[in-house]
């Protein structure tokens, strides 16, 4: 892997390579360049995931022609696919080196240990939603109980916007979550459940189930589960599996006519 990155940089296949390096004892994202080739010896996979593709998107908006290489786990690759679909990155300018990944519904077996689910505390099991549940189990609560449990989770929100800020596929210049006509300002928690449902709706056909949002949520709201439900609907209605290909998403078709047939439910 290190050899390959060195070669890529030397030969000009990529101008920069985003990977990881141990700095002050922490595995941190790092940008490897041609000016510092020996540094490629320090390239590691690292057990802490960051959204390297979000960094690539940021770099590409200012340096359009730059050839960017990056280390990808499965989730990074799925996010890249979505970023290609939504024209945030150009596939011609991206080169990837694949490494092992963490478990996800879209890929059952993986071995990135950092996302090993933590066991939910007894109170959360009793009145909230266990983050490790699957959609089916979460739907088994009676309607009233389910509503109470979700509201318990959502009212913990600190409105830190971490879920959006860390998300590889949240790239809008103006974000609805900050639109004062949609979501009232001035109080914490923000308007629940609207705040979370607005974001959930936007994640239809976009969320690639990387779990970074849930990881960044200081109050442990089961966000990933919420977006899984949304994408189950997308999959049922449009037969579209977000992130698994670079095929057009049913949500970014422009024009007068609907060309995509909804699947009969």
């Amino acid at each position: 892997m290190q050899e390959q990155v060195r070669e890529w940089l030397e030969q000009g296949k990529v101008d920069i390579f985003l990977g990881y390096k141990k700095i002050q004892g922490h595995p941190l994202p790092h940008c490897f360049t041609r000016d510092n080739l020996d540094e490629t010896d320090d390239l590691i996979v690292g057990n802490a995931r960051y959204s390297l593709e979000k960094m690539a998107t940021k770099i590409a908006t200012e340096h359009k022609e730059l050839k960017i290489g990056l280390l990808v786990r499965d989730c990074n690759q799925r996010a890249l696919n979505v970023l290609y679909v939504w024209n945030q990155l150009r596939p011609d300018n991206i080169e990837t080196i694949s490494v092992n990944c963490c478990p996800s519904k879209l890929k059952e077996h993986g071995d990135c240990s950092y996302l090993e689910p933590e066991k939910a505390a007894p109170l959360k099991m009793m009145i909230g939603i266990d983050n490790n549940m699957d959609v089916k189990a979460a739907e088994e609560f009676g309607q009233e109980d389910r509503y109470k449990r979700w509201m318990y989770e959502l009212q913990k929100c600190l409105k830190c916007y971490g879920c959006r800020d860390i998300c590889p596929v949240c790239f809008c210049k103006e974000c609805s979550l900050e639109h004062t006509d949609l979501i009232a300002t001035g109080s914490v928690p923000p308007e629940v459940p609207i705040f979370h449902l607005v974001r959930a709706v936007h994640m239809g056909g976009r969320c690639i189930d990387c779990g970074l949002c849930e990881d960044a949520c200081p109050v442990d709201i089961p966000l990933r589960l919420l977006y899984r439900k949304v994408n189950d609907i997308v999959s049922d209605v449009f037969d579209y599996k977000t992130g698994t290909s670079v095929d057009q998403s049913p949500f970014n078709m422009l024009g007068e006519e609907v060309t995509l047939e909804p699947k009969p439910i």
């Binding site: 920069i16 002050q24 941190l28 994202p29 940008c31 995931r49 770099i59 916007y161 960044a216 200081p218």
Partner: protein, 135 residues
């Protein structure tokens, strides 16, 4: 093209969350939580997430300001310190050292905070030392 990730510590409050600054072409463009930091384990509050903004803000003070004729004006450090010394001296002479209070800050280091209280106690002569979080 130059892109760096710089580990640091959030300076907004005393919690001390680990952050990563993203620096593009010498400009601080974004902040991320450090996932492996023992304090925050990859989480931040809204202040931490926007840490880069107060560094690059247009409103950031880049020189001392002195009020002249009712308006704040840029001044040199020498002038600013001289003015502060004169005013503090006059106040202490007229009303005693306990008429002065000193507010320490979470945005400065432990050592600087030590100096702040030393300044209050040994130079001014008061125990009126408190923290900006109790303003």
């Amino acid at each position: 093209m130059d892109f760096k990730i710089i580990p640091s510590v959030c300076s907004y409050c005393g919690t001390g969350c680990g952050v990563l600054f993203q620096v593009m072409d010498g400009r601080l463009v974004d902040t991320l939580p450090m996932k492996t930091h023992p304090v925050n384990e990859g989480k931040l509050c809204i202040k931490g997430w926007n840490l880069h903004e107060h560094v690059v803000s247009d409103k950031r003070l880049t020189s001392p300001m002195l009020k002249k004729n009712g308006h704040l004006q840029e001044a040199s450090w020498d002038d600013a310190i001289q003015t502060a010394v004169e005013k503090l001296k006059a106040i202490i002479e007229a009303h005693g050292p306990d008429s002065v209070g000193v507010l320490a800050s979470a945005k400065i280091t432990n050592e600087e905070n030590y100096l702040v209280q030393k300044f209050a106690r040994a130079v001014i002569g008061t125990n009126n030392v408190d923290h900006c979080a109790r303003l």
